[in-house]
């Protein structure tokens, strides 16, 4: 019998995903609280505190937690060490809380220490993923992008620590350009390859669609592989590279959207659940984000308002809706696998769909999507009132999302294998 790669204990990804959900709720509350700051320039300590709550607390913890569940499936290789992943979580959580708090307080020496702790957590993740990738025997599209994402994560961390050190000691020569490079390394070097790479493997599985193939794959690999280093170099020192880099990244976005449209058109799964609606709506934000990025590269857009709108549509629209949708697929599966898989076939157990709370998921979908659009519009116009109103929608959406996940998590209590006697089955 062929032995497949094993997933880790369900508690490993769950701790990341639960922490990420709390960060999501906190971040949306931050939009209400900091609406006045968000209507001004983004390079303010409290806005940066919010940005890191989103980027590290919500997005990175989700991706890392989901990685520990999805990478064994996507790469057909088990995680190298669950123990390292547990220590990583402790370092990351402590570091992220410290980083956000010190940004908020504008306490730079403390920020540097917290950045160091985040660095320890990220370094443990990089070690774990590198040694996991070393077990991969087939360098598929997904494997290449997951590997590339680890390089992007390492560079994002390096930039972040340098920026924190610069804040503490004021020796960094690049100023705001380094902040832009740090943001784009995180978005395009770390988050985008993970989302695009895992999507190529999992979206067809969820949608019952044919495996992706053809030119969109090369466009994504080439666009991100060439575009991201060129964009960072362009932002820091070689402005002539910015436009071709933006075109390359936009090409990658086109490739990704082309694949997702193909999955949707050729899917055999007739009904889309809320998780898939989140994911597909998130993908619809990507061409808008790519267009805005090109607008900045061409000089048609400038200033802090449009820049905040760009970041909101990228992190809140494309990334957040996508990872929220993936979480609505992953968490019920983890809980079902823990609570009901051992007794399935010996008695009535719910399907994954029965674990979900569609009303809360649908409310979250509508509120978060509307909130992101209103937030982006309010930021572009510099309107604190609109941003605060969008924050109210986002808080309500994040709470509905947390409630939906909480209801799934409740199945861990009171359901389980202990209630059902083991079945004796004849064997060969």
């Amino acid at each position: 019998m062929i032995r497949a790669a094993r997933g880790p204990s369900v508690t490993l990804p769950l701790r990341y995903l639960v922490a990420a959900t709390l960060a999501f709720v906190a971040a949306t509350a931050g939009v209400v609280w900091l609406a006045g700051d968000l209507a001004g320039h983004y390079y303010r300590p409290r806005v940066l505190a919010l940005a890191h709550t989103v980027a590290l607390g919500w997005i990175t913890l989700t991706i890392m937690g989901a990685s520990y569940q999805l990478v064994p499936v996507a790469l057909e290789a088990p995680i190298w060490s669950e123990r390292v992943a547990r220590w990583q979580f402790v370092a990351l959580m402590t570091g992220v809380v410290g980083l956000v708090a010190h940004f908020y307080l504008a306490h730079w020496p403390g920020l540097l220490w917290a950045a160091g702790l985040v660095g320890v957590g990220v370094a443990l993740h990089l070690v774990n993923m590198t040694l996991t990738l070393a077990r991969v025997t087939r360098w598929s599209f997904t494997a290449r992008l997951v590997a590339g994402a680890q390089v992007g994560l390492a560079l994002t961390l390096l930039f972040g620590i340098l920026l924190a050190a610069a804040r503490a000691g004021a020796f960094w020569p690049y100023g705001l350009a380094a902040v832009h490079a740090h943001f784009h390394l995180a978005l395009l070097g770390w988050v985008a390859p993970m989302v695009v790479g895992v999507a190529a493997r999992l979206y067809p599985m969820f949608l019952l669609a044919p495996e992706p193939e053809g030119w969109p794959g090369w466009l994504q690999l080439g666009g991100l592989g060439a575009g991201v280093p060129a964009l960072v170099a362009g932002l820091l020192a070689l402005p002539a590279l910015v436009l071709p880099a933006a075109l390359a990244v936009a090409g990658a976005a086109v490739g990704h959207v082309a694949w997702v449209l193909r999955f949707v058109r050729h899917r055999k799964r007739p009904a889309l659940d809320w998780g898939l609606r989140f994911v597909l709506t998130g993908t619809a934000f990507l061409p808008v984000v790519a267009g805005l990025g090109l607008g900045f590269a061409l000089g048609w857009l400038s200033g802090p308002g449009p820049a905040v709108a760009y970041a909101v549509l990228a992190l809140g629209g494309w990334v957040s809706l996508t990872i929220a949708g993936m979480m609505l697929k992953i968490v019920p599966f983890l809980i079902w696998n823990r609570a009901y898989a051992p007794v399935a076939g010996r008695g009535a157990v719910p399907t994954l769909a029965r674990l979900a709370w569609p009303a809360a998921e649908g409310a979250s979908y509508a509120l978060v999507t509307a909130g992101v659009l209103l937030f982006a519009g309010g930021a572009a116009a510099g309107g604190a009132v609109w941003i605060r109103l969008s924050g109210v929608l986002l808080v309500a959406g994040a709470l509905a999302f947390a409630a939906a996940l909480g209801r799934v998590l409740a199945h861990l209590v009171g359901a389980g294998p202990r209630r059902v006697a083991p079945l004796r089955v004849p064997g060969p």
Partner: protein
Amino acid sequence: MSGARSGEPVTADRIVEALREVLDPELGLSVVELGLIYGIEVVDGRVTVTMTLTAPGCPLHDAMLDWVRESVGRVPGVAEVEVRLTFDPPWTPERVALDRTP
């Protein structure tokens, strides 16, 4: 569970009916509808099911094989169950069909 107890011969059709109860929990489709069953062999109450999974790294790897083994094992007349897993040919969504016979 033996042939002597039930008095009915075990047939591939009865095994298929039993396998229709084995659902993929995420998709809500049976292993038969998903086209995961590649073959069923019945010899003197000994049943061999050859099947695949949607992906080699499927997290339900062990559980799915257990469910198939248990479901087939409950068919009256079945004395032994062997589940053989193969990824050759690999599963593709083209294999999905409602009310299909493997």
